[in-house]
């Protein structure tokens, strides 16, 4: 599972960088989304994988052995929400940019006209 997730994270980072380097601004935003997801998974894996164990045990006060760590999950939840907000804003920005300039090409970003 660990190796599978590590590969997945690598593929996501690779795809993200590829998209970030495209000339199309919309693909840039897609790249940002991928980058965010790759990082969320990285947080999850770095926090330690525990399979088949819940994060909170009802009724067992002192039984913490083998329990999975709830903190990385809370962090990822926060990071997902923040990422969602920023992505929504970035998409609006690109849409507005398209409406003003009628193009989504990177060259339009340079200031010398």
């Amino acid at each position: 599972m660990l190796i599978l997730l590590a590969l997945l994270i690598g593929v996501l980072y690779g795809a993200a960088v590829y998209l970030l380097l495209r000339r199309n601004i919309f693909k840039l935003i897609l790249g940002l989304i991928f980058l965010g997801h790759a990082t969320n998974l990285l947080l999850f894996v770095a926090g330690g994988l525990t399979s088949g164990k819940p994060a909170f045990l009802r009724g067992l006060q002192n039984e913490t052995i083998g329990m999975s760590d709830p903190l990385p999950q809370a962090l990822i939840l926060t990071a997902i929400v923040i990422g969602l907000g920023v992505t929504a804003f970035a998409l609006t920005l690109v849409y507005r940019f398209y409406k003003v300039t009628k193009t989504v090409d990177f060259d339009e970003l340079s200031e010398n006209e």
């Binding site: 940002l32 990082t39 926090g47 990385p72 990071a79 804003f89 970035a90 920005l93 507005r96 940019f97």
Partner: protein, 492 residues
Amino acid sequence: MILILPIILPLLFMVVLIFTRRWLFFQQSFSLVGSVVLTAISLLILLDVYQNGILAIQPGSWDAPFGITLVADTFSALMLLTTSFVAVVVMIFSPGFIDKERQTAGYYPLAFGLLMGVNGAFITGDLFNMYVWYEVMLTSSFVLIALGGSAEQLRGSIKYVTINFVASIFFVSAIGILYGQAGTLNMADLAAKMRTWESGTYINSALMLFFIAFSVKSALVPFFFWLPASYHTPPIAITALFAGTLTKVGVYTLFRFYSLFVVFDEQFWQIFILVLAGLTMFIGVLMAASQFDIRKILSFHIISQVGYMVMGLGIFTATGIAGAIYFTMHNMLSKTNTFLAGGLVYQRSGSYDLKYLGGLYKASPLLALLFFIPAMSLAGIPPLPGFFGKFFLIKGGFEAQQYFITGVAILTGLFTLFSMVKIWNEAYWKKEPEEVKQRDGKVHPAALTATAVLAIGVILLGVFAGPVMEVCLDAGHQMVNPEMYINAVLGR
């Protein structure tokens, strides 16, 4: 519990301002009062911290290291105070500069959102919480920089949003890796744990990721290109607010992290940071010298001056850090002030381009004076604060026997003077270009008052350099002895 106010109050103000968005006069006056209240509270915190030592509270009654801790040492308190003062001035300036559409479209609530994020980042004692405050600050700044939606602004915002998003990703990745290694997110607890380890093999990758994230945010070489590409696009009141607060948060975090987390391989980090600091100040000032737009010259200057602050970090003695902290405070005031003075030039003559400006000294000596004070302060002419900031940095550099970087700092000072004199010569002294018909604009009294108030603030910071430097030395002392911070948070 006073420590929670710099975060809660901007939130409350923001909520009130969102619901009263259409009442222009209420927005303006409420924002001004709100920022004055924040300044008063920051002053109280500073007094408290300076007298009683580092202040730490555990909101939610979860003791450190399990809950989120809020900590203020002298450095944080000084930064809080300077930020709120900059906010007061910008709140006076904005009604006289920003158009009504932008003012009623949520400019004021967003400005308080920004302040909440900045204040939060200054006083949090928790890594992940720091990330959240960064995002609060950045999200507000994303909207502020795009507010109004002109094509130029949209171009700037896309670059700004992208680079900051990527930097945040670096930040979160570092947090994840560090948590996996140490199992704690409380900064003091983490620092205490690191001091019991035998080698830094496990944390160096995380530290490098942190370093990249914050050097993007504070615009260090080689990660500075986004700043001059985006900062000049919104109305200059917004640029002034950004210049006075945003990059400085990056610098603050670099200082805090270096002090707490660089336990291993100090030699490497010190040289690394000093090299980048030297490159940053020199490249920044050279690029500033080649520009002809006032806003761009000043934007490149931000980069150069960040180099000075980080140089103090690289020296890492109490004097060096104190000099850097004083320099940061001076820079927040003087830099904002030059941007505001640039705004006055724009109101008077309708352009930021030096080629189309001229004769302003003859037309309005007062405007010239209001630019002259902060510009000379940035260039480092006594008795203005820029001189004392550089003096203490250079003194710290000599004491720590870092002669090369100190030489670069002195040389950079010369170029800074050159580019300030360039603005002065072109905009104020040379004759009005004949082929260009000058717009004889009216300068708004609110904008003029704000710039004058800030100029007085700059002068006072220089005049009272002695007592302020005492406080900065206290902060520097706390930074080079991170045990004080650790013990205050963990209640030992």
